[in-house]
């Protein structure tokens, strides 16, 4: 089916379209569980994601007016299920697609929507996130980056940390304080700062998994920002962003459970390739743990799917995103450790598919260390569940 012809499809026909398109269009070497895999370059990823968008597989629920496909959340889930089934690389533009885009949709001006959103989906502009600071992680009361009025625009000075993909980003979704530090959670404002503005310096932070495109520190020294790049008024922008993020946390990367299942299948398939590993698939100890992983995966699916139904029915989803994220991240860590244990027993002269699996699962194991930290640590999620799912009183 040609690009652009997919808008009439729904339900299982849409699923078939997604599946067929992926099977015909995933570039050679892109799938981490297939022969010939080589880590795709940034440019390859950008091209592929742009093609996915043209085929209706990205920006699925965004309005067509801004380059989206105006589909339902159910179809978003369907596409995610199919994307998850394949060992595709993670999006290189997740900040734009999962964070900046939804916030701009919620609070941007018409001009901002026109300007930013299609550029995100078409992979012309990538975004990075400037929320965390050395002295303010999950707690924004200590945020020190300052935005001061400069005519109609602003001047921003401060320092950001954990800014993923800062080096390749065109824009930074940046949070800054417009009043004094004593205002704590008040007076915070959101900006779309161009990364080529004068006064911006990026210092990469090497990650434990030693990957490119990882974290960076961003230093801002009297960076000029025009009025057209303020997202909402102070307070307004950030408060709306918080609401958007609550939904986003529950709806983005819905493919995770299905990708997780892909990883488990890859592990099993790799074991078959090595005479030292194949017997482990008959060992009750590993069979029970493989089954426990499958149950975890089904529980993550069971966390995800009702969110769609609830949102479609117009219900508040509250802190459901925390349930999904926490269960997934911990289950994924358990699985990653299992995979390392199993693949650690491979023959020293194991065949290439086993080496390929060893590489993939080593990356997954290290990456999984971050999964219980980013987007709210386990401890933060447990606090949210206690406060807002269990509704426990504070108990003073």
């Amino acid at each position: 089916m040609m690009d652009g012809m997919h808008h009439d499809l729904s339900g299982e026909a849409f699923r078939a379209h997604v599946r067929d398109w992926l099977s015909a269009n995933v570039p050679p070497g892109f799938l981490a569980d297939a022969p010939g895999y080589t880590t795709p370059t940034l440019q390859q990823c950008r091209d592929f994601e742009a093609a996915m968008h043209r085929a209706g597989l990205a920006g699925i629920t965004w309005p067509r007016a801004y380059g989206g496909h105006g589909r339902t959340l159910r179809e978003h889930l369907v596409a995610n299920q199919e994307i998850g089934r394949l060992a595709l690389p993670e999006s290189v533009s997740s900040i734009g697609k999962e964070l900046a885009g939804p916030i701009i949709l919620a609070i941007g001006t018409e001009e901002q929507k026109q300007r930013y959103l299609p550029a995100i989906l078409e992979m012309r502009e990538m975004w990075c996130q400037g929320f965390s600071e050395p002295e303010a992680g999950s707690d924004l009361a200590g945020l020190r980056t300052r935005a001061t009025r400069d005519g109609a625009g602003w001047r921003i000075t401060g320092q950001k940390i954990w800014t993923s993909g800062a080096a390749k980003a065109a824009r930074c979704l940046l949070l800054a304080r417009t009043g004094p530090l004593e205002d704590r959670h008040k007076g915070l404002a959101l900006f779309a700062v161009p990364m080529d503005a004068p006064g911006i310096r990026v210092r990469p932070i090497r990650q434990i998994n030693d990957k490119d495109g990882g974290f960076a520190e961003v230093f801002l020294d009297d960076v000029p920002v025009g009025p057209e790049d303020a997202l909402g008024a102070p307070d307004e922008g950030w408060n709306a962003a918080i609401r958007v993020l609550g939904i986003e946390r529950a709806t983005n990367r819905m493919y995770r459970a299905w990708r997780f299942e892909n990883e488990l299948r890859h592990l099993v398939a790799a074991c078959r390739q090595d005479p030292a590993l194949a017997p482990l698939l008959r060992d009750g100890a590993y069979r029970q743990r493989i089954a426990a992983t499958l149950v975890d995966i089904e529980m993550v699916k069971g966390n995800v799917e009702p969110v769609v139904e609830a949102l479609v029915a117009g219900e508040a989803i509250g802190a459901r995103g925390s349930l999904m994220k926490l269960h997934w991240s911990e289950a994924h860590q358990r699985f990653a450790a299992l995979a390392m244990e199993i693949l650690g027993m491979a023959s020293p002269d194991a065949p290439p598919p086993v080496l390929q699996a060893q590489k993939r699962f080593k990356d997954i194991y290290l990456q999984a260390r971050a999964e219980t930290i980013y987007a709210g640590t386990t401890e933060i999620q447990l606090g949210i569940i206690a406060d807002r799912v269990l509704n426990l009183p504070r108990g003073k």
Binding site: R287, A292, P306
Partner: protein
């Protein structure tokens, strides 16, 4: 039967089941059966020909969940399933079960020999039952309670104790073929997940109630972050169980659905006991007293886990992945 056609909603059954289960408190199994039948709860799954409602499993789940939540002293899932699956081969017996007149139960553990001798086990509340359904190598056989030697087993559940059942060679009232038994067993497994969910919910609710009212070191227990996180972890597990169960009820009759249904039981069998154990822990010394009912829910949950043969189910789940891959 389709929800749209009947205008029925499974949620409505939850309400009436909760009320009926509460009304059963203190009644003997016969009394419970009569009370539950009053609201048509025993025949939810049975076809209309034997006096049932002929509804699908989604309507039975909230009923069994309420029974788990209320520590019901009646083999509810067994009765519902027998009334459905005996409707063909033994309609009169199915009708009497659906009506709460005859009492039936199922021996979940062990297999009797085809000539109807041997001992089977894990038959909840078998004492005084009119009918016991017993697994055979192929299918199952329905035997009159009067033809069986029934002895209380060493089990945890004191409200719905398990019995061992020895066959004495008496004739079966009827038999189920292997396909019928297998369908029944798969339905039982989902009902168990619902029963565990109900019992775990009550356990956690009791723990929340305790820690919010009990004070220590000058503040309520719930002010302790460790206690909040302990309970949050239980809630996390419980919502995962619930999600897996809801997902399973929406799946089709293919391999995906089979995995989802097994996973729903295994999620409950894995996390349910831990939720009840943590709920006891949250009660401190009170948790170790007979009068605080959390231990009853733990006993019920552990019993359901064993009746569902969780380790064998995990093995089957792994086999389906490994052997198919």
């Amino acid at each position: 039967m389709d929800m749209m056609q009947t205008g029925l909603d499974p949620a409505d059954f939850a309400d009436s089941a909760r009320k009926a289960v509460a009304a059963c408190l203190g009644l003997d199994p016969a009394g419970c059966g009569a009370r539950l039948a009053e609201d048509g709860l025993l025949g939810v799954l049975a076809p209309e020909e034997v006096g049932g409602l002929g509804l699908d499993l989604r309507f039975a789940l909230p009923v069994v969940q309420a029974a788990g939540a209320g520590d019901l002293a009646f083999p509810l899932a067994e009765t519902m399933l027998m009334a459905r699956h005996l409707a063909g081969p033994a309609p009169a017996i199915a009708a009497s079960l659906a009506a709460g007149e005859g009492r039936g139960t199922i021996a979940w553990a062990g297999t009797a020999r085809t000539e109807l001798v041997g001992t089977v086990g894990r038959a909840p509340l078998a004492e005084g039952a009119d009918w016991v359904l017993v697994r055979l190598a192929h299918g199952a056989a329905l035997l009159p309670g009067s033809a069986l030697r029934i002895a209380k087993a060493i089990g945890l559940d004191e409200t719905a104790p398990e019995y061992n059942v020895t066959l004495t060679g008496a004739d079966a009232a009827c038999r189920l073929d292997a396909a019928a038994w297998s369908a029944l067993a798969e339905e039982a497994s989902l009902l168990r997940a619902a029963a565990i969910l109900g019992a775990a919910e009550t356990s956690l609710a009791l723990a929340v109630e305790h820690v919010t009212t009990r004070r220590q070191f000058g503040k309520p227990l719930v002010a302790n972050q460790a206690m909040r996180h302990l309970l949050a972890r239980q809630k996390l597990a419980m919502e995962g169980m619930r999600g897996a169960l809801i997902r399973a009820t929406g799946c089709g009759d293919d391999a995906v659905g089979m995995l989802a249904r097994r996973a729903a039981f295994l999620a409950a069998a894995t996390h349910g006991p831990l939720i009840a154990e943590a709920s006891i822990q949250a009660h401190g010394g009170m948790g170790f007293t007979w009068d605080i009912p959390v231990h009853r829910h733990l006993r019920r949950i552990r019993t359901l886990e064993a009746q569902g043969e969780a380790p064998a189910m995990r093995e089957a789940v792994a086999a389906a992945l490994i052997d198919a891959n």
